[in-house]
Symmetry: C2
DNA sequence: ATGAAAGCGCTAACAA
DNA sequence: TTGTTAGCGCTTTCAT
């Protein structure tokens, strides 16, 4: 006889009773094994179409959903991919990227969940373990010790690698720099966001700008850091102006908008006094005054590429070296 | 003899071998049961401090992390709370809220993961099942059929209820309306976001504004919808102007900024021609031209309240009716 | 082509 | 106070 461990309090809040694969098997008149084979579409099993349909039907009729924990436990791996998003703010650009990645992963049967890595949140490896993620993606490479914790927490794929990161970020900075240089600016500035979670990305982009400067034979960019706040940005703008910078590349559109606000506070006008270029092409970029020149990329593409790398890693294949999609310049009035 | 199901390809990408509770038990020289009791801090078990420490030490030394799937499977519930975030954009306000909720939940041993409910993403119940969430939180009440799917997918708590929502949203709209009314405006407008995911929240806030109007004895607000794009917003502004609206409450700061941009395009200036008030107090609100008057609230508080309701629901208790923290007006130059 | 049965790592009732 | 043991729902090997 089976024990019943349910406690007496059967409240309305309790989850509905779950349908198990045994229920489906019974309804279809087959064994659980067969159900598993059919539902997982296992290759190399010759199951007659008729049986297949019977199982599929039963599953649909009962609204069967495999119990993820049980499956993960038995199979030794989950279908969960964890995305760690750095400290706020999450701009619209990031949201789009996340969504595209999720869609691409979903096509491979993987589920993406995201974790906002706030200062006081629980450590990423804990979250990874809690959701039993088999892959973890970040926005910039994780420190080696974190990578190891993640592995121990069950993640078999951890991205991005330093190489991935450089390959993705630098061309963007390079493009920003080249645009400004191409319009005749000779003294370039770079606005880094104060947000620490974005630092690593920003620094890679800055390297791209620096490369552009070197190629053009001009001094490396003057880097300043600014919070998303007019007063602070004004200070940054003053530093830039002191160095007679005439064109500044901002880490992203939000930072760029802050720079624009800082300039306003200093009585400077863009692009006449200083030209500003952002990255991301967020909706508010065109609403800025003046409208912001920025770098746009196809997030769909980027997300898809990331997903491919994850899928490849999970299936043990070496990923085809992902070719990054080409960023595009959106010329507006701020440069 | 144990079977070894590992396939031959032991690649560098594979997750490190996991430490199990049996390992800890062995290291501590006790049984798995004792380990379980100690690590879960089960009340009513009198375990000598000495043994406790021995187990704790062993666990720490081995960097043991309970296997979430196994635990969930055995215990019948997971520690996962799933937050479904509506379609983009995720403003900074939302990010803060998420982070605070996560922190508050973490204090109760729960892990929050978020899912961006994009148009093409997988359906929420699928995600809920995939991560085995025992609670699901949204930004506005889920349709009844979705609630049922979620329950069947294993969620025992689903929030918010319609009541929660109204209690949280309406006072905000009311406050916006009262501010404008208090400054003498007699013809109020309301700007809804085009984004469908935000519709439900927006409509509740609109009700709040309507209430404020009724109390003041003026006509209900003229509602218009606008995308986050200057051209579209200009159209909305024209509609408002046609109805001789002199003050508009925007759903949130981003919408408000779009309205401001629309006004600029129409040659209107705020607050002289039309006053604008937002909600959220996002960083860019004060960077807008003119600086945006808005409603600010303590996200920490809101997140904490939400978390309490979840915890209460999960433990079967009826939540203490959450008292919503008081929103605060931030007066800037747009009104 | 299908089924029986052995676990995956953990929890919890029960026994000692 | 601690250990034994029976599952949780699923996958997968092996036998039929």
């Amino acid at each position: 006889m089976k024990r019943d461990r349910r406690t007496g309090d059967e409240r309305s809040m309790t989850a509905a009773k779950r349908v198990t694969s045994a229920d489906v098997a019974r309804a279809a008149g087959v064994s659980r094994t067969t159900v598993s084979f059919v539902l997982n579409d296992r290759p190399g099993q010759s199951i007659p179409e008729e049986t297949r349909q019977r199982v599929l039907d039963a599953a649909r009729r009962l609204d069967y959903r495999p119990h993820a924990s049980a499956r993960a436990l038995a199979a030794g791996r989950s279908d969960i991919v964890l995305l760690s998003v750095p400290d706020l703010p999450i701009g619209a650009g990031i949201s789009r990227f996340i969504e595209e990645t999720a869609t691409a992963l979903a096509e491979h049967g993987l589920t993406l969940v995201t974790h906002l890595a706030g200062a006081h949140g629980r450590p990423l490896p804990d979250v990874c373990a809690a959701v039993n993620a088999s892959a973890v993606i970040g926005f910039s490479p994780f420190p080696p010790d974190v990578v190891q914790s993640l592995r121990r927490a069950g993640a078999s794929v951890v991205l991005p690698s330093d190489g991935d990161q450089a390959a993705a970020m630098r061309p963007i900075g390079r493009m920003q720099g080249e645009h400004l240089l191409g319009r005749g600016h000779r003294r370039i500035g770079y606005a880094l966001p104060a947000d620490s979670g974005l630092k690593a990305m920003a620094e890679e982009r800055l390297i791209g700008v620096t490369e552009a400067c070197r190629r053009a034979g001009v001094e490396p960019p003057v880097a300043v850091t600014t919070a998303l706040e007019a007063g602070d940005a004004a200070g940054a703008v003053r530093q830039l102006a002191d160095e007679s910078v005439t064109g500044v590349c901002a880490f992203n559109d939000e930072t760029a908008i802050a720079v624009l606000a800082g300039m306003r506070e200093c009585g400077l006008v863009a692009p006449a006094d200083i030209a500003v270029i952002g990255v991301d092409d967020i909706p508010t970029a065109q609403l800025a005054v003046p409208a912001l020149t920025t770098i746009h990329f196809d997030l769909r593409e980027v997300g898809r590429k990331r997903a491919e790398v994850v899928v490849a890693g999970l299936s043990g294949r070496e990923p085809a070296r992902p070719t990054w999609s080409i960023p595009q310049l959106v010329q507006r009035s701020s440069t």
